[in-house]
Amino acid sequence: MQAFVNFFYLAAAVLFILGIKGMTKPKTAVRGNQLSALGMGLAVLAALLDFHVVSYGTIIIGILAGGAAGVYMARKVQMTSVPEMVALLNGLGGGASLLVAAANYLESQQLSGMGQFDPTVEWSVAVILSILVGAVTLTGSLVAVGKLMGKVDDPKDIRNYKLGVKASFALLFVGTLTLVMGDTLNSGVLLTLMILLCLVLGVCLVMPIGGADMPVVVSLLNSYSGIAGAAAGFVLGNNGLIITGSLVGASGLILTSIMCKAMNRSLVNVLFGGSMAAAAGISKSENDAFYEGKVKFASADEVAMMLETAKRVVFVPGYGLAVAQAQHATRELASLLESAGAKVKYAIHPVAGRMPGHMNVLLAEAEVPYDQLVEMDTINPEFPQTDVAIVLGANDVVNPVAAKDKNSPIYGMPILEVYNARTVIVVKRGLSPGFAGIPNELFIRENTLMVPGDAKKVLQDVIKALREG
């Protein structure tokens, strides 16, 4: 029977791999996701058939409660809040790994009392790793959710958090040695203290990271949640968990490195460099002086006039579009321009939005065909032939300073070269700096027009003017 159970885990792992493979194309992605879900069903079935499992009542209650909460969340969440939801789910996954390790430790105490278990060094290390990664994922994710929601601010001074990280690691090292060398199974108090320490560590690790870098953090925590699962697999000696956990761990790591490359920053710099805005931040008066008298403004009517004659239009959506929920208005304007004969595309910067690929989801929600979404390297050579580029709530990713000012905090970050377009229209609520805390040279360029206001409102006004004109 047990061999049969292990075979189920293997089948589940194969289904997960096929499922992720399905995600390589939008057409097969839905099926891929279903395959993964099927794999999960198999894995749960296998666990229920495991010879260790004898009582089902509490298990069923747990599954029903968790399932109901999960279904509710998935139905209710707004597409703009998907990053927060994913971050929260990461945290819960980490929390589950932490609980599994703790429960297994308690059971091992009982088993040892019955003379059926003898703790090895590997087992102890696996338990501690599982607790460490699980706890850090849990509290780290909760801080990330707070930052994504704008409820947790970036701290001005990050030294205390850095100190906290160092102290936690030192204490954990001592704790691990004590646990492994000493009476491993009778150190419940020590283990509890270490769990608390790991929870604090998670907060100290994520607090100093700037709100702008949360996409990287969410990707990394995604990776951690997988590694936490794999660690729990080492504790239980369960290959299904190990394979699946490492798949997820790898996925998160790759997305993390893609994000870092897109910002031209190293992971170490993101994690320990503090918030960019706090480091480079200019005062309000400096910011005002930069723009003083150099910005040209335009009204919605003028924008409409310009668009009437435009043949090639590129939209550049940023986080501001998500905040204003302007994806539907954008789509409406695009359709209007298309019906008038213009070619419309969307330029997507890799770090646009709040998590990798977030902007694509928002535009897909507004039924923008995905073949109109163009990646940075493909669209940049097309800007010189573009009549009008419309920047919607994006800032740092279109700042030409990234290409030439070595002292700029965003120097070297690949940007969308919208300034090459004949006319650039920037829709923005005000002239406040973006996440990097620096003014944007694009806004004072000769071919740039600013339209102050909420993206959705401005777009609706433009649509109205086009219809009437």
């Binding site: 992720i20 996701n33 794999g39 260790h52 509490t58």
Partner: protein, 96 residues
């Protein structure tokens, strides 16, 4: 020790498989990929089930922790797969 080396081998090989297939996922689908793999990390529910359902060697506290683990992991599983499906359906609708 041999067991450890075997499981570690599996761990390393699985990471390579992960890197290979995930590198092929286009940026358009990175958000659904992340929420989907996130759902998959709910696999830890397996560990929670085994921990909380085991018979003679559980204590009240270990069962409680196990069940709490099941709740958290199933939120992860159901929430993750369903929200991924919701997003992917939106990509499917429009073929351009």
């Amino acid at each position: 020790m041999e067991m450890l080396i075997l499981t570690f081998t599996i761990f390393v090989l699985a990471i390579f498989v992960g890197v290979e297939i995930i590198n092929k996922v286009p940026p358009t689908l990175h958000t659904p990929l992340m929420s989907g793999t996130n759902a998959i990390s709910g696999i830890v529910v397996v560990g929670a089930i085994i921990s909380s359902g085991a018979g003679e060697h559980t204590s009240g506290l270990s069962t409680f922790l196990g069940v709490l683990g099941i709740v958290l992991a199933t939120i992860n599983i159901f929430g993750g797969f369903l929200v991924t499906d919701r997003m992917l359906q939106m990509f499917k609708k429009k073929k351009g």
